[in-house]
Subunit: 262 residues, 2 copies
DNA sequence: TAAGCTGGTGAATAATCCGTGAGTTTTTAT
DNA sequence: ATAAAAACTCACGGATTATTCACCAGCTTA
């Protein structure tokens, strides 16, 4: 559950974004949103918060109630307590001195203009990215991808399915071969968008002359049997695929995609 | 001197920003700007760059010459060589799928809309902030080296495995040779990320002309036998490696990585 | 109903990678 | 200057990985 700490003085923005923020898929669970309309109230709350209330991310308006510095004072209070808390600004004053101060002096993780097309989506993307970056830092640089029961360590390229490491189906003592690993990673990254043979070839930096659809299919086969092997050759994963989860074929575009099991 | 790597396919943007970027006060010194108009040219350049040319920051356009993926392929080439290089996108397509891909999948440090008020200043602020963050991160990374049963004294360069000092396998009275020691250190530092031949060559400040994969393998062999020797030539360490711990081959990209035994 | 397409499969082949030993060049120390 | 050490090259075999091929089943369309 992602905990968001949000300070915003104008009700219409709160109305507009709160539902979006609550329902955004940040970590696969519902989010907890704590909103304050006044900087003072926010600061009082911060003063009494303990580590168990520690938010994962703060969203601030810089200019509030006529004061340029209102948001920054909240930021300082937060950073004093949790120096590594990522802070995003959400403001109407992009391109102004306020943005400059936020970015260059107040350790803002990001500064998002309220007036831009598709703002709800942009907000979610950026929050998600900030949380991901934060998590990567905390895990000792062990960045990872996670989707349901699947976990990919993007540095060591180990893949875990329900906690079990995926191995090479032809030789269970060896790790999964490189190309299947890469393909799986791309599929999960782009999930739930399908990846065509062409796109995969591009991502693998392989020549389309060399990388054919037959080829792609073969690697998918390897992956599926690796999953099956991780479950003890029960064929459970293959079934899952046929039910439209896991590694699924797209229909008629030489494409596959990844669909989380949860 | 801040080194910026910039890929932008439209001349008018280059004309508009290059003077600004060159003169921006990023670190008190004049900046070095390397601009490419074509993604292919940029990628070729990246392939031949060594660590001494390593840019401090990359500025990319995502959508170039009609392809959505052009900028991302440059990003991948850069990150492959320097996984920690901050990458900023400068694009006309904010709020679109391109921004989403950049932020959520391509580890963009930032995504800046070209069309916004005061764009020159915003660009400079954000570049400056990204550089600052990068620097702060680098300073925080200096920690002692210890990984499972392995211990490296970074001052005296002695290496201990299970408390036993690693010696030169060809002549047990002599210490481990310098290059293997360095390689081991880099592997452990970057653990569990694999290091390709190219990356090792960069880290050793050796010419890629001189430092080949055969070479890398040779040093790995030396290291493995040094570990074995420290255990009394039992071959215990070699076994460990085959089980995916210790010094492990990555299976692809001519790379090895270090995986702690604990 | 047959032809055309997609997707799954097993086996065979081709390509690549990795470990190794022995030899050569370069660097370093005496 | 000389010898030892270190770094680097080269070539080979075995193993792993990637690709290709042939075939089948199911579905859609002519």
């Amino acid at each position: 559950m992602a905990k968001l700490f949000w300070v915003e003085d104008q009700s219409h923005w709160i109305d507009r974004f709160s539902a979006v923020l609550k329902q955004a898929d940040l970590d696969g669970e519902p989010n907890h949103l704590e909103v304050y309309k006044f900087p003072e109230a926010a600061k009082q709350r911060i003063a009494v918060m303990t580590d168990q209330h520690k938010p994962d991310l703060a969203l601030l308006d810089a200019h509030m109630n006529g004061s340029d510095q209102a948001g920054f004072s909240v930021s300082r209070a937060l950073l004093k307590k949790w120096p590594d808390l990522p802070i995003l600004y959400l403001s109407e004053h992009s391109g102004t001195e306020i943005e400059e101060q936020a970015i260059t002096q107040n350790d803002a993780q990001d500064f998002i203009a309220k007036h831009q097309r598709n703002i709800e989506a942009v907000l979610c993307w950026r929050i998600k990215a900030a949380l991901k970056k934060r998590q990567a830092q905390q895990l000792g640089e062990q960045a990872g991808l996670r989707s349901g029961s699947l976990e990919i360590h993007t540095d060591s390229w180990e893949v875990f399915w329900k906690g079990v490491k995926l191995m090479n189906p032809h030789n269970p003592k060896r790790p999964l071969a490189p190309t299947p690993r890469k393909i799986l990673r791309f599929l999960v990254e782009r999930s739930p968008r399908p990846l065509s043979t062409e796109q995969i070839a591009d991502l693998l930096e392989a020549d389309l002359e060399r990388f054919s659809y037959a080829n792609y299919r073969q690697h998918i086969k390897t992956l599926r049997s690796a999953f099956d092997a991780a479950e003890g050759h029960s064929g459970e994963f293959s079934e899952l695929c046929q039910q439209g989860r896991g590694i699924v074929t797209f229909g008629d575009a030489h494409a596959y995609f990844w669909k989380s099991d949860s």
